[in-house]
């Protein structure tokens, strides 16, 4: 059965981006980007600030208008769908800045992810509640689930965001700098969480500045500068790639220098 499956049907990528371009006036934030994400892997995007990473993510979740290009999810084009259709497709994301409801508790914030109109009946409700509690458990916030985000540390707030995305039961999880503002231990924990999700078959795409974490966590890296892909492949190879050294690590070196 499995063998037949593998031979007759070449694997359809979870997400495929074809010749994506997003221009703001004269600024080409993303310009001719193509890549595809195969199921069950963790992908990472490296790139200095302003390289178009976040714009790419906004385009993939339909928050900005595409100047050009195609987006396919599970082989189906979806670039004409509104942003609100992403949840239904199975695309969940976190945001670069913390975006939580301040007057709602942690648990209620995560519940927001499951609030579609169709949940009827007790059994369905209980299943949803369980999913939410599991998501909170996974990010380690069970004990503080009744507190409001304002009563939590920044790192914890970021984890609420991740729990909310997980609770949407997505087929693709997009994480926009999930560990910004976290200490090293917290970063390692997030990394472990991502690998745990991968073991369950979840495809993930992560944007991060922490090169070490990206190399340790991701199966496949993309490197971007000025809206274009300059390298992709096995993480260590990508990091060693001369163009990447020049564009990303070079600038990081400069920063390190300035600090010293």
């Amino acid at each position: 059965m499995t063998a037949v499956h593998a031979t007759t049907k070449p694997e359809v990528p979870v997400l495929e981006v074809r010749d994506l371009a997003v221009h703001f006036g004269g600024v080409k934030a993303v310009d001719g980007l193509s890549f595809s994400l195969t199921a069950g892997k963790i992908f990472g995007v490296l790139g200095p600030n302003g390289s178009g990473k976040s714009t790419m993510l906004a385009a993939v979740t339909r928050l900005v208008r595409l100047t050009r290009g195609e987006l396919l999810f599970g082989g189906e084009p979806y670039h004409h769908e509104p942003p609100r259709a992403m949840a239904g497709l199975g695309i969940a994301r976190t945001f670069q800045t913390v975006r939580l409801l301040e007057d709602r508790t942690v648990r209620e914030n995560v519940l927001l992810a499951t609030d579609d109109h169709l949940i009827r009946g007790r059994a369905a409700r209980r299943a949803v509640a369980e999913r939410v509690d599991q998501a909170i458990e996974r990010v380690g916030l069970t004990k503080v689930r009744r507190l409001r985000p304002t009563e939590l540390s920044y790192g914890m707030q970021r984890r609420v965001e991740i729990a909310r995305a997980i609770a949407m039961n997505p087929r693709l999880l997009l994480l926009d700098e999930p560990t910004a503002g976290m200490n090293r231990q917290e970063r390692e924990d997030i990394s472990a969480l991502m690998r745990g999700l991968q073991a369950e078959g979840l495809t993930q795409l992560i944007i991060e500045h922490d090169v070490q974490m990206m190399v340790d966590t991701c199966d496949h890296l993309f490197a971007m500068t000025t809206g274009k892909l300059i390298a992709e492949g096995e993480p260590r190879a990508v990091v060693r790639h001369p163009a990447v050294q020049e564009a990303y690590l070079g600038s990081r070196h400069g920063r390190g220098h300035a600090r010293a």
Binding site: L63, R84, K143, N183, D189
Partner: protein, 318 residues
Amino acid sequence: MSDWYAANIVLVQSTMTTLLLALSIQLPLRVGVFSFAGVGCYGIGGYAAAICMIRLEMTTWPSIAVGTLLAGAASFLLGLLIQRLNGLYLGMATIAFTLIIAILAVNGGSLTGGAAGLFGALGDLTTGSILAVTLVVVVVFALSETGGLGRRVDAVREDPELAAAMGVDVSRYRRMSFLVSGLVGGLSGALTILLRSSITPAEVNFQLVVLALTVIVVGGFRSWAGALIGSVIFVWLPKALDFVGEWETVVYGVIVVLAALYLPGGVLGLAADLYHRLRSGRRGGETDDEKGAGGADAGPGAVAGREFDQLAVPGEGR
């Protein structure tokens, strides 16, 4: 008791109609739409109901139904027209809408009675029936504040983009808020006018917008209960404020400013915050322990609950 009731029946009734008007302004604010169209709808509902009774000789409740539905329809269409405007622009467009309703009434000829308005539209309304209608509205509003719907409404207000990412149809919520606000505003106008038997264009003015807003700002804009608190305060305050006499309006102004400054959630918001603090405070010890212990009991693969203590330096792992 019955003496008290007989003496205060007008205040009891006007508490309910004020509550309805306040709710019609509150709902759009809860969805993040800065609309005052509810006051214009109050005018539409009032005039429509009065015209039905006087000119068409309809009975009380059908007249009220016509006023309510007409106001709802007008508000819905207005919403379709202006939903793309943001913030203050939308607010001012809806104030303009409200004032245009008054000018239409002035120029409506014999239909609206011109500047003198309409007289003799006394409906057959009992306090009990008004209470019943108000209760229905309040229950619907209360339901919209609980559970998933309540959370989605909060998300649409606080962060529309986030709401969309969660699969919420933001513009549908905004359109619905116009419709419901119009219906409730129209109902409030129809009830008020048929209780009072007359309406003039001068009543549908900016001062009515101020009153409705005042009620919500002081009571709290997040919940129907806030609108109720505000309505009770402002309908009954004049009685309590007898001692300040003619300076009553000055006291109103001071109350609104103080509320806008120190109680962004109104009286109700203050109460809710205190309640939350009390509840989480009771479990406070447990919570602190968990933070300090680094969440030792967290399962494998889970992130430990640890206090954020140092700023991460990008790329420090290398």
